[in-house]
């Protein structure tokens, strides 16, 4: 299915390469693909922008941060959404292809740890969550819950959220740690799949972007370590950095953006676009104090 989407994107991006005529009615096309976490946000941005600029057509698809970046390198999209920074090897691939990718931080996101509301556990430390996903803790009883097996849910490996969670939570930010997820972790293909299983299953634990969390699941309060305060994710706790599992969301372009794409990226860091960020449950740039400037890569 994703291949078809790529093909479609490839077909239409050829259209976008037609040089823009100076005529006032000339339409511009922007192809965007990448992170599933960001897809709703990117769609909301695109919708609002197109209302104000009817001459610009923006198409947005998901598929995962890795997919978006490889589509950017293959030249099928103009902007890649990514919920993680570009990897060294991806950067090299892009440079081999003759591009000079540009990084833009466009919003921030907190990852919520969620369980079923029937589960009496309300708070966990980072170390406990890590032990759960390493497969060292296998029963809720060990965490003060009921005598139930723990069912670990994760996003698929092509998700930026998966990689971020692996590095920040499972490995507790230690780059030398080579632990991987316990092999019986269920890898679900979508954020909605995780929400659906957690909503139904009192054994399950999962993680998802704060923007996806629905009232039918319970969000766990997290402490950085034993004896430290337990914090629930919110705009405020992400801004003051007390919630430990939060990250920047990125957009990448192949080159220093020009013309329509530059206008669009400038608009995204504007107050109007950042209000959409807040409305969708993410954290906006102004509040978190991250500047919207280009972060050029070495």
């Amino acid at each position: 299915m994703f291949l078809i989407m790529l093909l479609l994107a490839a077909c239409s991006s050829q259209k976008a390469e037609v040089p823009l005529e100076p005529a006032p009615r000339a339409s511009a096309y922007i192809q965007i693909s990448g992170s599933d976490t960001m897809v709703n946000l990117a769609l909301a941005w695109a919708e609002r922008y197109q209302q104000e600029h009817p001459d610009v057509r923006i198409s947005v698809t998901g598929g995962g941060s890795g997919s978006g970046i490889s589509a950017l390198i293959n030249g099928t999209v103009d902007i890649a959404n990514a919920s993680r920074a570009i990897k060294e090897e991806e950067l090299q691939k892009a440079q081999q292809a003759g591009y000079n990718p540009q990084e833009f931080i466009v919003a921030r996101d907190a990852i919520a740890i969620i369980v079923n509301p029937q589960n009496p556990v309300t708070q966990l430390t980072m170390q406990q969550i890590s032990a759960i996903y390493r497969g060292e803790i296998n029963n809720w009883k060990e965490l003060g819950g009921e005598d139930r097996p723990i069912v670990r849910l994760s996003r698929e490996t092509n998700s930026g959220t998966h990689v971020y969670f692996l590095e920040t939570v499972v490995r507790l930010g230690n780059p030398k740690d080579k632990t991987i997820f316990s092999p019986d972790t269920l890898l679900l293909p979508s954020s909605e799949g995780i929400i659906a299983e957690v909503r139904d299953n009192p054994n399950a634990i999962g993680y998802d972007g704060l923007g996806y969390v629905v009232p039918e699941v319970k969000v766990i309060a997290i402490a950085r370590g034993r004896g430290e305060p337990f914090v629930l994710p919110s705009t405020e706790t992400v801004n003051n950095r007390s919630y430990p599992i939060a990250r920047d969301l990125y957009m990448y372009t192949r080159e220093q953006p020009k013309g329509v794409i530059k206008d669009y990226l400038d608009w995204i860091v504007s107050r109007e676009a950042q209000e959409i960020v807040v409305r969708l449950g993410f954290v906006s740039l102004e509040q978190s104090g991250v500047s919207g400037k280009t972060a050029k890569l070495d």
């Binding site: 890795g66 997919s67 691939k93 698929e156 092509n158 080579k178 890898l187 679900l188």
Partner: protein, 300 residues
């Protein structure tokens, strides 16, 4: 004279076009085969074969063990056939041997409609209805298991089994049944002792085709089997989450960098799947051509 010549020309053109169509499909199969081998085999030079025969699949960190994926596909397929075979064969026997004409006319199109059901719709039913139900019924840690996948895929396989097996049963000459009835056999004795054995190779073909259909199914299994790449213990084989080869290719192909070891490994899995369906098709063809020979022998 001229009209006859023109007719000849048209005839020639149409024959050539049909020929071309036939050769094209052979060409495409050949090209797909070459493409798969070209993209998948080079990985064997970079990564020693033994690293594929491990039990850990986590390709973003260089673990390329495909055994759990193989096991996953085989478990789900075996379970699906176990479910589809009795139901499908029963339906085929009912339609061909037992049902009154009006029931036949209703049942056949309904079974064909079942074949047209998109598997993603089945996946939705699986994720929202079947998996929560199975979890409560069997008191499982999670409802996203091989069993859920098998039940859905059994559903997918039933129409294939019904239509092929029913054809085979219909091809059994009526004189066989009449002879059995004349000897005083009941309807059940006729079906079990005469008709079914006579249609045996057709039924085997039906099973083989169903296996081929099930092992290649992707969307529904990806949604309901949990996609956990590990080999379950023997006692829990059907009630554990598993990950199939098809779901792995579908969910990871979008992300990989072209030409990387991970990319080539996914193609290697594609080759394994291709070999599976090749073997299954060869078995199906041998079995069904044996039926032809037998019926020829019967006619002579």
């Amino acid at each position: 004279m001229l009209a006859a010549k023109r007719q000849n020309l048209t005839e020639l053109a149409i024959t050539r076009l049909i020929q071309l169509a036939g050769y094209l499909s052979i060409l495409f199969v050949g090209l797909i085969c070459i493409f798969l081998l070209k993209e998948g085999l080079p990985v064997l030079f970079d990564v020693p074969l033994v690293r594929f025969l491990q039990t850990t699949w986590y390709p973003i960190e260089g673990y390329y063990g495909i055994l759990p994926l193989l096991a996953g596909s085989l478990i789900v397929t075996f379970g699906a056939i176990l479910i589809a075979l009795p139901l499908g064969l029963g339906t085929a026997i009912f339609i061909s041997e037992v049902a009154p004409n009006w029931a036949k006319e209703v049942l056949k199109p309904l079974v064909e409609l079942l074949a047209g059901m998109p598997s993603v719709v089945l996946g939705f039913i699986g994720i929202l209805v079947l998996s929560p139900y199975l979890r409560r019924l069997l008191d499982l840690p999670t409802g996203l298991t091989a069993l859920t996948g098998s039940l859905l895929l059994g559903w997918v396989a039933i129409p294939t089994i019904v239509s092929v097996a029913e054809d085979a049963l219909n091809n059994v000459p009526p004189s066989y049944r009449q002879a059995a009835w004349a000897l005083g056999a009941t309807q059940w004795q006729t079906i079990w002792g005469i008709t079914l054995p006579a249609a045996r190779s057709g039924v085997l073909t039906a099973i083989m085709l169903a296996v081929g259909r099930v092992i290649g199914e992707t969307m529904a299994v990806m949604m309901v089997t949990g996609n956990a790449p590990y080999i379950p213990s023997f006692l829990k084989v059907f009630v554990s989450p598993i990950r199939t080869m098809t779901a792995t290719i579908a969910s990871e192909m979008g992300e990989v960098a072209k030409g990387s070891a991970h990319y080539q490994t996914l193609f290697l899995i594609g080759i394994v799947l291709f070999l599976f369906s090749l073997i299954i098709n060869i078995i199906a063809v041998t079995v069904s051509s044996r039926r032809l020979k037998r019926s020829e022998r019967l006619l002579s």
